[in-house]
């Protein structure tokens, strides 16, 4: 019944791992040709694969794990999806309902353990309710502010000898759940008028624009009003990264231009962003002169850390579309002189060295920033880029200019090392004709490196761009800056030979140590369309990610290099 429902729901791939409590389901999958089950090597990777799929497509990824350790291994991936509002349905096996609570073999209270990190969860109480429960799970996961939903299934609910009538439920009824379907027109008009009257406006957009499928109306609005645009880490690609109006990412490692533009703005239009602590720096000093318009599907995101002057609760795509229509109807433009002088100021901040200037050195050693810039050139800015967590993640966010939404897959909220490779796999599986790169480091990649085996089994030729500096770079950076250079437990002795490791898993490994080899070898790697290539790039360990906001300061308080600050 579960497998039939998944087929009727249009699920093509399930990411999972078998075990006692779900062996009936795996048996049913054996006979079902419309759904392919991807066998990972660790359940955490199953959740990240489903997550990568969801980020790339906007649809819920489906995970199937067994009870006990299967379920607990999935927890990190569920929390990752929860923090970034990613739709996911996790089916976890459970011991038979008659044994629940007896500390049975491989029993764990999955609903209890996952409670704080799911949008909702269900325990199946009777086999007949399975189609309805699953329909609700998909509906809740994908609608409103998306998120992961756990469905815990005791083994006796899937007994193949019990037969029940199955009807695919086309609709779902939930009296206590109804996310807003449109924003308040009066508020939208008020916001439009505020934007027209603004002298120093800025558009700050986040992951909600990606998952809310709103980058088209957002781009139209920004062009119409000639607004400077900055994206959060989660929002990259929501507005074309190579466009003149784009100021780069904002926040802790955001661009000098974006952070100063925010600080000096008089009207901030926040769309699908949540004023995260890694964005706003010190809340009391945040943007002292700005009125704030905040559009979000989740009312609890509004005025959580920063009070909104004009809150608008609703789906970002419909709110922005309505705002564009209202502006057309009003037919006015913002004061051209004020806007021209605002842009002049912004261009002064941007300067001639680009949004993220860095010292390219003498070429004797590869800079990690250069590696990302080269990746951007080689893939013509059109790849799916999954990243792990650390310095390489920030370099990827700064130097890879995403022109399209859903192309940048990273664990923004939870910051999960080990996310990159399985997320890249999830994207590659569903977009076999598009280049998929995993930008990672020698620390993060080892957190889910076993998935190289899954890649071989299912033919997933992702390209791993390992920025290997032989150190846990971000930890080391903080130790340099905050802990007087004491590199406590941030270095990696006895690293494996990644080339041999890749080869042992049946893939191609390439080591790049010279700057002159960087581009040609990367091109060679991406030319190998049907092979996974592990590019182990030796990069400068002394590089730091800049700018870096100074703790508890305002948006404009930043270190710009090891010696300069604002």
């Amino acid at each position: 019944m579960i497998v039939r429902f998944l087929r009727d729901e249009g699920v093509k791939y399930i990411y999972g791992y078998p075990g006692g409590a779900v062996d009936v389901l795996h048996d049913a999958l054996f006979k079902e040709k419309a759904i392919e089950h991807i066998l990972v090597r660790h359940e955490q990777a199953a959740t990240h694969m489903a997550d990568g799929y969801a980020r790339a497509t906007g649809k819920a990824g489906v995970v199937l794990v067994t009870s006990g350790p299967g379920a607990t291994n999935a927890i990190t991936g569920i929390a990752t999806a929860y923090m970034d509002s990613i739709p996911m349905v996790v089916l976890s096996g459970q011991v038979p309902s008659t044994m629940v609570g007896t500390d049975a073999f491989q029993e764990t209270d999955m609903v209890g353990i996952s409670r704080p990190i799911v949008k909702h969860s269900f325990i199946v109480k009777h086999p007949a309710e399975i189609p309805e429960v699953l329909k609700k799970a998909f509906h809740i996961a994908e609608s409103g502010r998306p998120g992961p939903v756990v469905v815990d299934i005791p083994k006796d609910m899937t007994n193949p000898s019990d037969k029940f009538e199955y009807v695919y439920p086309k609709k779902v009824k939930l009296r206590s759940y109804g996310p807003a379907v449109r924003g308040h027109s009066g508020q939208i008009r008020k916001a439009a008028e505020m934007l027209l009257a603004a002298k120093r406006p800025v558009l700050y957009s986040g992951g909600g624009v990606i998952m809310g499928n709103a980058s088209a109306p957002l781009t139209e609005l920004a062009r119409m009003l000639n607004l400077p645009v900055t994206n959060t880490l989660m929002g990259l690609g929501g507005y074309p990264g190579s466009d003149r109006q784009f100021l780069g990412m904002l926040g802790m490692h955001g661009s000098y231009t974006a952070n100063l533009t925010m600080h000096h703005a008089d009207v901030i239009l926040a769309v699908g962003a949540r004023f995260d602590d890694r964005v706003i720096n010190g809340a009391p000093k945040f943007c002292p002169n700005a009125k704030i318009i905040h559009i979000d599907i989740d009312p609890a995101s509004i005025s959580k850390t920063i009070k909104a002057d004009v809150p608008i609760v609703g789906p970002v795509d419909s709110v922005l579309t309505e705002m564009v229509a209202i502006l057309k109807e009003i037919g006015e433009k913002p004061n051209p002189e004020a806007l021209a002088s605002w842009w002049k100021q912004i261009e002064e901040w941007r300067g001639s060295r680009g949004l993220f200037p860095y010292d390219k050195g003498d070429g004797s050693i590869i800079k990690p920033q250069t590696a990302v810039e080269t990746l951007y050139e080689v893939t013509r800015g059109d790849a799916f880029v999954a990243s792990d967590v650390g310095q390489h993640q920030m370099f990827a966010a700064q130097y890879y200019k995403f022109d399209k939404p859903n192309r940048w897959l990273n664990s923004g909220g939870l910051g999960t090392m080990g996310f990159g490779l399985p997320a890249a796999m999830g994207a590659k599986l569903n977009f076999p004709d598009v280049d998929v790169a995993c930008v990672t480091g020698e620390g993060s990649i080892q957190m889910n490196i076993q998935e190289l085996s899954t890649c071989l089994q299912y033919g997933l030729p992702v390209k791993i761009v390992n920025l290997n500096n032989g150190a846990l770079g971000m930890v080391r950076q903080w130790q340099d800056m905050v802990y007087s250079g004491r590199h406590s437990h941030s270095y990696m002795e006895s690293l494996p030979d990644f080339i041999k490791l890749a080869e042992a898993y049946g893939h191609v490994g390439m080591r790049i140590t010279e700057l002159k080899d960087l581009k040609p070898m990367m091109e060679e790697a991406f030319a190998l369309k049907d092979r996974l290539v592990f590019l182990d790039i030796q990069v400068d360990v002394s590089e730091h990610v800049y700018p870096m906001q100074i703790r508890d300061g305002s948006m404009r308080d930043m270190w710009l290099s090891k010696t300069e600050r604002t």
Partner: protein, 163 residues
């Protein structure tokens, strides 16, 4: 400031744990909590009291509303309402104390609902303040045991919390 938040909750296993979990997860306070099914057996009515600034209370109500099993919610403290708490107090009652306790219970419109040769059990309903005052009036020295139900409440006038 203290707030009384009242909600209709799907009468399903696990629903209560989500409400309670939310408070610990987001570092909110719960001072008291009462919950029981309503006349509609698919719904429970849950009333809780909490303390916090207006911004915190706003976040609490928003996050409670986000829980799938919360059907409807009202912050009773925002308008005229009636609040009640039930208390059962077991007090030492010997000699002259017996008459004194009876008198005090009468003043507070309490009832003595159980009697032994040395103990009275007093039942008292009212606002939390009134129950506090009763305890003070009796004096903690003679109190053997106190059981309080936690606050429950209802809006005054025509307003109802129903679906």
């Amino acid at each position: 400031m203290r707030h009384i938040i009242s909600l209709l909750l799907e009468n399903e296993p696990g629903a209560l744990s989500r409400v309670v979990g939310l408070f610990s997860q987001r570092n909110y306070n719960i001072e008291s909590l009462t919950v029981a099914p309503t006349e509609d057996p698919t719904l429970s009515r849950l009333t809780l009291t909490t303390v916090g600034h207006d911004e915190v209370i706003e976040q609490i109500t928003k996050n409670l509303n986000k829980l799938i099993e919360v059907v409807k919610l009202v912050n009773l403290s925002e308008s005229a309402h009636i609040e009640r708490e039930l208390m059962l107090v077991k007090v030492k009652a010997t000699g002259a104390q017996r008459a004194e306790i009876k008198r005090t219970a009468d003043i507070f419109r309490g009832q003595i609902v159980d009697v032994t040769s040395s103990v009275y059990t007093v039942q008292l309903a009212g606002t939390s303040d009134k129950l506090d005052s009763f305890i003070q009036a009796i004096g903690t020295a003679s109190i053997l045991e106190v059981v309080r139900s936690g606050v429950t409440g209802i809006a005054r006038g025509d307003k109802t919390l129903t679906i």
